[in-house]
Subunit: 450 residues, 2 copies
């Protein structure tokens, strides 16, 4: 027998969990479309040269090879599975620039793959939901405010734990490091990015060894990273550290604008958190990470920011701002905690009981009438005893069983019968062309237990 079983890092859901996931995806998509984001999908593969554009071979890319290829070498024309949506999107924009209207807003909900060591909330195959806005040459600043608010809007109507978006600005950090006189500000950014995973002493050590900081400079960097405020008081806290630099001023000003606008639209959603750095080196301004309250241990579930140079062709730049919601990470941890489930494991609202195999045509007609009216309906797979047919419905959570004709004993084919709510046992006469279930029974519901 061939190997049957789970593969570490490749999560699969049961149908009732997939019902929850689809509910979440439908709502995300509806929200993104209400904001005018167009749908997009890109191919799953990119040439390795695209995936490793900045010469960064640290990414755990899955490389494809056809079974019958004999060559075992990986060259830069080899194809790899994409590890995010941002790199393929940048390529798509350059490739199709002549057919797109700028500023271009799109959402993209797709799987991505990374060959990393799996752990809680970190998978090898995972679903992401991205929104991005890109423009030609320049992108107005107001998108830096809009993007996290759209995510806040999308998630608050879902039965998920509350979230907190942590915002920072690369210019602020880089300007601070420059103003301090640190030799390699980019290395300093990468060191501070590890604040969530390692203790401050280790970050300090990294600042000294990789960024060339003195002990006093490292201490100032740590002091900056400790600043986190729900209002704009972070400005005074930064100023108190006594560093000045024009880029620092620009970063402070941008972060103030984001925080002030957010307070106007969605108070409490954003926090200015100056330790947020984002490891990816294409960010150039505002950056975001997002924690689910109560589930901070799995890290950020939604990250992104402003990138000014990701896509360039000759003299033309396509600056953008975007954010990526880790759907698998978010749902995986909630499923793992037993915190999210569906009210039933099938879409079916009504099971039409089958008195005899001869009455299947009449029962199919009742089902067709209900379906035309938007009511998901199955006909019983066999003419077993009614008790067994009711158990068929019960085991799946189907709320209603329809007994055709005269309580199921005579089938007239006219769509009449009796319908039983198998939870309460209540049974009433009904006609398929007029009977309607209560709204809350029509589709499976998502149930949250926090």
């Amino acid at each position: 027998m061939s190997r049957i079983g789970p593969l570490s890092g490749f999560p699969e859901w049961l149908p009732s969990q997939r019902i929850v996931e689809q509910h979440v995806l439908d709502h995300l998509r509806t929200t993104f479309e209400l904001y005018g984001f167009a749908p997009l999908e890109t191919r799953a593969v990119e040439p390795l040269s695209q995936l490793l554009r900045k010469g960064d071979t640290s990414k755990e890319v899955y490389v494809l090879r056809r079974l019958h290829d004999d060559g075992a070498d990986i060259d830069e024309d080899a194809l790899g599975l994409h590890f995010d949506m941002t790199v393929p999107f940048a390529r798509y924009v350059l490739e199709h620039a002549g057919k797109l209207q700028f500023p271009f807003r799109r959402y993209q909900i797709q799987k991505a793959w990374r060959g990393e060591r799996p752990q809680e909330g970190r998978y090898r195959e995972f679903l992401q939901a991205d929104i991005d806005v890109v423009d030609r040459d320049t992108l107005p600043f107001h998108y830096d405010i809009e993007i996290p608010l759209i995510i806040g809007d999308a998630l608050r109507a879902l039965p998920l734990p509350p979230i907190r978006v942590q915002v920072n600005n690369r210019k602020l950090c880089q300007g601070f490091y420059q103003g301090l006189g640190i030799p390699d500000p980019e290395a300093a950014l990468r060191a501070v990015d590890k604040s969530d995973k390692v203790p401050p002493a280790v970050v300090a050590e990294l600042l000294i060894t990789t960024a060339g900081a003195t002990e006093a400079q490292a201490k100032a960097c740590l002091a900056l990273a400790e600043i986190a405020t729900e209002d704009t008081s972070f400005v005074d806290a930064v100023r108190a550290l006594g560093v000045s630099d024009p880029l620092l001023d620009e970063g402070l000003d941008e972060l103030v604008r984001v925080m002030e606008a957010a307070r106007e639209y969605q108070p409490g959603l954003l926090v200015a958190d100056l330790k947020i750095a984002r490891g990816l080196d294409y960010y150039t301004g505002t950056v975001y990470e997002t924690r689910m309250i109560g589930y901070e241990r799995v890290g950020s579930i939604c990250s992104g920011g402003r990138y000014d140079n990701l896509a360039t062709e000759g003299d033309v730049r396509y600056p953008g701002n975007g954010i990526s919601l880790g759907v698998s990470r978010m749902l995986g941890v909630l499923f793992g905690a037993g915190a999210l489930s569906a009210s039933r494991s099938v879409p079916t609202c009504v099971l039409v009981a089958l008195p005899s195999e001869e009455s299947r045509v009449a029962c199919d007609r009742i089902a067709a009438t209900l379906r035309r009216r938007g009511i998901a309906t199955e006909v019983s797979p066999s003419a077993a005893k009614f008790g067994r047919q009711i158990r068929y419905a019960e085991r799946r959570g189907i709320p209603y069983v329809w007994f055709p004709g005269d309580g199921g004993h005579e089938v007239d084919g006219a769509g009449g019968g009796e319908v039983k709510d198998i939870r309460s046992g209540a049974q009433v006469p009904a006609d398929a062309s007029t009977w309607t279930p209560p709204d809350e029974d029509l589709r499976p519901r998502v149930i949250a237990a926090y």
Copy 2:
């Protein structure tokens, strides 16, 4: 600069085409759910041992390798991308049998990959929409009738060319070949499966060389493959060939039952076509292929059938019946023919014009009011001249531009203003809390030109 451009066999759509694709997918999903099929997704990869279960290494599987793996050997623990949904589904059923309710109905809409030579309608990455019903031990015959009718029901409400489902039965062919005395009936089936691609003389030659048929037997096989009827008259045509075998009788009887029921439910959808064999060797009874009328050249867009032995574990069998709709093939050929498009390239119904950057907060409020009422709305990216803002809407096909306040000159923030239909030029006073666009403008429409 890194390589930017299309990859042969990996199709990508423009946003307006993706809008069409999503419309099709939404409708398929809604239909499948109305019939009680539960949603499911499986991981994109399977161990090679699963993908090549019957020792068939002819499949052009993409094998994965991590970038930093040094071993270049492909062993059977290597992971490959799935080439259909059926093999992963069979594995999923065995793996999760204890948590599923049988008969188990599921739909699965996912990408699959094959490293084949690309041609019209044949891609290396493609989207499939599958439905299957599996049961433990035995699966009632009525599903053989239901499955193609569900596809007929799903497709007829979409703006696609009409379809014709060709049905045959493996038992009928195999019984006929046995009754004839052909030494290798399975090889005969594979030879006849090529009828669509090569002339009859070549099929005859294959029957002789690969299945051990005599010339007279080969002629009889070709005569059988020529029979195609819209009613049950195929029975007389087969009987006239003078072959008899118990398995042939069983196959004829099953095909009659499918054709009779289909005439009752959806007259004209099915044709009994005895050349349909389906290359895949897991089918054991009823088989289906589907042609789009006018686009027969791209081959079958929807294929499947009954399989009795795909998933077995010890003594337990999980027989099933399922069908797979080739969404990429179907849409790729229609997009290529310019036969399908969307009424606009964005979901946006209303663009709120921006009189000045200072009025952005007031304009955002108007947009939020419209969105809460389900109307997709963008605020203009900049306070350019109104003429330019109207062109922004025009280029995307956004039908309405909202001028806040007093025709756009004064913004009161109360949600009032004037709304212009930029197609007719008609402009009327409107309030964001009550104004509603005509139904046909609310979302992008799919436009078919056949």
